[in-house]
Structures are given as structure tokens and as C-alpha cells.
């Protein structure tokens, strides 16, 4: 339709004549509400499309990040674990296991032959030779200074029923033996079970270190007791102690040369002649308490 053919003053005038703005106010308000609703629906739909796009992008990004993070965590965990990276807990578990294994090895031992060397001032060195066989007895030979060799038999591995047979082969009360300072270094190693108890309860072994080469394959247990550092070298194959050394803690701390105050050498599960473990009493010297 051509604007020129329309009577009046143009299209606007024509439309205003045809659709007069004479709606009642209620109808106008209702129409307005419909328009508003339509507008809001259109805006919401547009926003939803945008939001969906953002969510997808977000999810995609998050999934990628999460996949990457999980891969990194799995690889890092595997590498750290296989790399032998030990925590405090693993270290503690290792220590407990080591001590328990060594003490169990001691409890399983059938015989023990050990030498305790206790250097003193000058020539005053004392040495003890202990021989023990399971369910028989322990024999301790002590050599201190110029006093000659004294022998102690402990039947059934019990100090309470000990016989004292010195140079004069005289019986003595067990309490006297346990109080005798001279015998003290040896009484600590009278039986493997006693040594196992010391390892579990007294030495407080806290470090392990492996030494190998030159035919030696052992690991060290290091602990402390009564101001002394205790080092026990344990055979890797048998979990039985090879040597036990005690050092003075104050000298170790001062960085001075370590001076061994006691050294014990062990030999395990070697046959010990039975007659060595049975005391020979001189005539008329049988112990009164047996």
C-alpha cells in the first residue's frame, strides 16, 4: 500500500485513526502485564542459554583439571612410596619390628658362647667367658687382674640358685653374687632371654644402620642406657647379635675419641661340651641348699 493513497496526513495518522488509544485502563494494564511476562521469558531463556554455555565450559575445565590432578596425585604417591621415602610412623614400625625380631632370635637360641671384656684403669682389665646351653646351665669364668680365674655355675639359668665356686670352691649365697660388683658385667648376659629383655626394655634402641663388605653383613642397633651409648652389631642372616659395645655418653657428646667401656662378643648355636656346664665339687663341699 502506498502512503500517498492513504487519506489523511500519513501512515502514523492512519494508524492512530484505525487503532485508537482508547482501551479501558484494566485492559491496558493486563496487556502490559502480558508484554512484561513475554519479555522476562525471552530474557530468561537467553540467560539460560548463556549459563548453560558457562556451565559446560566450567564442567569441561573442572573435569580436565580434576583428571590432571588425580593423575599427578597417583603418580606422586606411587613414586614416593616406591622411592622408600619413610615417615616417622614407618621408621617407628621398622624399629619396633627390628627389636622384636632380634629378641625373638635370642629367645630361639640353643647355645651361647660370649666373652665380655671390661677395660679398667691401667692393666686392671677384667674378662668373662660365658657359656650357656638351653635347659642345662650357664658357666661364667671370670678373670680379673691377678686374682686368677673364678667360675660361676648357674643351673637352670637362675641366679637365685647359683653356686659360687671360686678358687677355694666355696658355696655362697646367691644374694652375695648378685650384689658382687665384680660379677655385675657378666650377669647382664647370663642367658639370651635376659639379653633379649634388656634389648626390649632397657637399651631403648633407636637407630639402625647397615654395614656390609669385607665378609661382614650386619646392621647396627644403637641405644642408650645409664649415660652409656650401646651399639649392637646384628648379623643380617640370623638376626643374632655379633658384638655389643658400650661407650661413655659424655665423651661421645664432647666429640672426643670414643672409648669403649665394655665389649661383648657372641657366638651362637655352637656345641658346648656338657661337662663344662656341670660343676665338679671337691670332696665334702656339696652345696647345702641343694
Amino acid at each position: 500500500m502506498n502512503e500517498k493513497n492513504i487519506p489523511g496526513s500519513g501512515l502514523k495518522g492512519f494508524l492512530s485513526q484505525m487503532f485508537k488509544d482508547d482501551l479501558p485502563p484494566e485492559a491496558e494494564a493486563r496487556m502490559q502485564r502480558h508484554f512484561c511476562r513475554l519479555e522476562s521469558v525471552l530474557v530468561r531463556a537467553e540467560a539460560q542459554v548463556k549459563t548453560h554455555r558457562c556451565q559446560w565450559a566450567h564442567i569441561m575445565l573442572r573435569k580436565e583439571v580434576m583428571a590432571f590432578a588425580s593423575a599427578v596425585m597417583l603418580i606422586a604417591g606411587g613414586v614416593m612410596h616406591l622411592g622408600g621415602n619413610q615417615s616417622v610412623l614407618a621408621h617407628s614400625i621398622g624399629r619396633v619390628k627390628t627389636v622384636l625380631t632380634v629378641s625373638a632370635g635370642l629367645r630361639r637360641a640353643t647355645s651361647m658362647d660370649c666373652t665380655v671384656l671390661k677395660p679398667g684403669d691401667g692393666d686392671a682389665q677384667s674378662s668373662f667367658h660365658l657359656r650357656w646351653t638351653a635347659r642345662v646351665a650357664t658357666r661364667v669364668d671370670m678373670e680379673a687382674g691377678n686374682r686368677g680365674v673364678r667360675t660361676l655355675w648357674i643351673p637352670d639359668a637362675s641366679v637365685s640358685t647359683a653356686l659360687y665356686a671360686g678358687i677355694a670352691s666355696r658355696p655362697a649365697a646367691s644374694a652375695a653374687i648378685t650384689r658382687d660388683v665384680l660379677w655385675q658385667p657378666a650377669l647382664e648376659y647370663v642367658t639370651p632371654v635376659l639379653l633379649a629383655r634388656h634389648i626390649e626394655e632397657r637399651y631403648g634402641l633407636i637407630e639402625t644402620e647397615r654395614r656390609s663388605g669385607d665378609g661382614v653383613d650386619e646392621f647396627l642397633l644403637i641405644g642408650q642406657e645409664n649415660q652409656q651409648v650401646i651399639e649392637i652389631a646384628v648379623d643380617v642372616g640370623t638376626y643374632l647379635p655379633l658384638t655389643l659395645k658400650k661407650y661413655r655418653l659424655d665423651l661421645v657428646r664432647a666429640g672426643e675419641e670414643r672409648r669403649c667401656v665394655e665389649e661383648v662378643r657372641f657366638r651362637w648355636n655352637q656345641p658346648i661340651p656338657r661337662e663344662l656346664l656341670i660343676p665338679k665339687y671337691p670332696a665334702g663341699k656339696k652345696p647345702a641348699h641343694q
Binding site: 573435569k63 580434576m66 583428571a67 590432578a69 588425580s70 593423575a71 599427578v72 596425585m73 597417583l74 606422586a76 604417591g77 606411587g78 614416593m80 612410596h81 622408600g84 621415602n85 619413610q86 615417615s87 616417622v88 610412623l89 614407618a90 621408621h91 617407628s92 614400625i93 621398622g94 624399629r95 619396633v96 619390628k97 627390628t98 627389636v99 622384636l100 625380631t101 629378641s103 625373638a104 632370635g105 626390649e200 626394655e201 632397657r202 637399651y203 631403648g204 633407636i206 639402625t208 644402620e209 647397615r210 653383613d217 646392621f219 641405644g223 642408650q224 642406657e225 648379623d235 643380617v236 642372616g237 640370623t238 638376626y239 643374632l240
Partner: protein
Amino acid sequence: MSSANSGKRILQIIVGILVLVFVAAGVRQLGYPANFLDPYGFLFVLMSGMALVMISFPGAEIRRAFRDAASPPGNEADIGSSIFFWEAAGRGFWILGILRSILNLKIGFVALATNPNGLQMITNTMAQSLLAALYGILFAVLCFIPCWKLMGRLQSRPLTPIVGQGVVPIESPRWRFGTVMGYVVFASALAAFLISAVYKLGMPQFLWMGYRPAMLVVLGGTIALMLFMGKAGSRPMLSTAFAAMGFIGSMMGCIQILHSMTIGGPTGIATLAGALEFVLSSCFTALLGIVILGAPLEDNAIRKGQVPTPSALNRMSWYVFPLLAMMFTVLVFVILTTPLTPGPH
């Protein structure tokens, strides 16, 4: 009718008294009854269990569950909701008891190694660590009693058409105050325990409780599993993923334990120690994940009506995996206390 009821009641009381007398006599016969007291473990399980309930349920639902347990319940939707509440509470205590046991055992092992006289206490350490599991089981049973009672009531009711019932108001995803408070209480209970243990042991590095490799493997694996599963049936499966990874980690540790037994000396013992820790830490991380992330998420989905009930897999991860974790803990203790056999020489 009432006299018959009162007679039955009196009989019940007499039987109860007799049972108590027998138990007391048994305890007396023991001579040295076992020490069942671990006040800190008890408090931890109780507080953390309450915190988990606060995380998963709003105050109104908690009150309604207590009301339903005490008095005849209202409509079926309410009963269903209360049943779920009591089940979730029992589940929380059950998992927390075992979580605390593992934590106790870890700290106990460190104490054994640092204390010179520690090895005398090795069996006591295990017994003390299991006490927390016992408390957890006791609390769980206490929570399951109303759950079972309500289930019985629900089953005994005649089927009625549900009109206006079961419509669970859908909440906005924002965090409730109770949830935040629950997490705060749980974190406080855990931190209080860890800090006191660290203070006692004098080992600040022990605050980093989770063994990093195990933690990384379990967390990484859980994320990977969740990504693989996607939104399977719109059901959250985080607990299942945690449990699966915890189990996988434990099995890896067990295989390493067997392998380490063929290696001698300190290297073998170090490998064994690493494996034992891997088992413990895998179980610990998985249980912690289930407790603080998996279970609340799934509870939320059930409360909002997204899923009707917990799935069988979720239930397995809530009940079977902690049991497995406890068995792994006992296995770790047995392996630790069993001395290695010396090799041929």
C-alpha cells in the same frame, strides 16, 4: 489384660536383674577385669559422631527423629526420615570408632619406638586402640535400636495412600550453619587429639598424620573413579569410590608385606614397615574421606529426595569397608609382632 501386661513387665525386670547379676559374677570371677576405659577415645567418638549428625541433618530433623524414637511417630514420610537419621547416626559412630582405632594404633606404634620401655606395652597398645572401635560399635547399636523400632512400626502400619506426604522441601545448596558447626566440631576433636599426641611424643612432624603416598594414592584414585563414573544415575558415589581406593591401597600394602618378607635385614624390615604404614594410612584416609565428604553428600541427596535410599554399594562402603579396615589393622599388629624368620646362612 492390664494385669497380664504388668506380670510380663515384672518378669522382664526379674530376667534383667538376673542377667546383670550373672554379668557381675562373671566380672568378679575374672579377678583382674580388663580395663575398658579410654575417656579420650570415648569423648572423641561421641563428639565426632554428634558432629557428623550436625553436618548431615538440620536441627528440625534431629529433633523430629528423637521425638519419633520416644513417642509414636507421625506420618510415614516422617518415620522414613527418622529411620534414615538413626541409621546415619549409627553409621557415623561405627566408622568413627574404627577411624580412631587406626589413629590410636599409629600413635601407639610411634610411642613404642620412642619410649625405651615401650615394647613391654605392645599388646596394651593394641588393646587400647581397639577400645575406640568398641565405643563406636556400642554407640552404633544404641542408634540402630530406634532405627529398627521405627522400621518395625513402619512395616506394621496399614498401607495408606500418600497424600501430601513424602514431599521433602528442597533446600538451596548453600551451607547451613549446623553443617559448618559440625565440621568445626569434628575438626576440633581431631585436632585436639593430634595436638595432644604430638605434644606427648615431642614430634611436630607427626602432626602430618596421613602417610603422604597412601593419602595421595587414595585421593587421586578417588577423583579418578568419580570422573570415570560421572553422574551414574544421578547418585553420589563418593563413599564407594573412597572405600574402593582404600581397599585397593590396603591390598597393595598387603602384597608389599609378602614381598618384603623375602628380603632380609634392615632393607626388608624398612620395606615391611613402609607396607604396614601404607595399609594403615590407606584405611585411615579412605575412612576420613567417607566420614567428612562421602557420607554427608549422600545423606544430602537422600534428604533432598534426589535418591530414595542409600544404594547397596554405598551401604557396603559404610559398613563392610570399616570392618575390613579393622581386620587390616589387626593384621598389621599381628605381622608387626611376628618376628621375621632368619634366612639360610
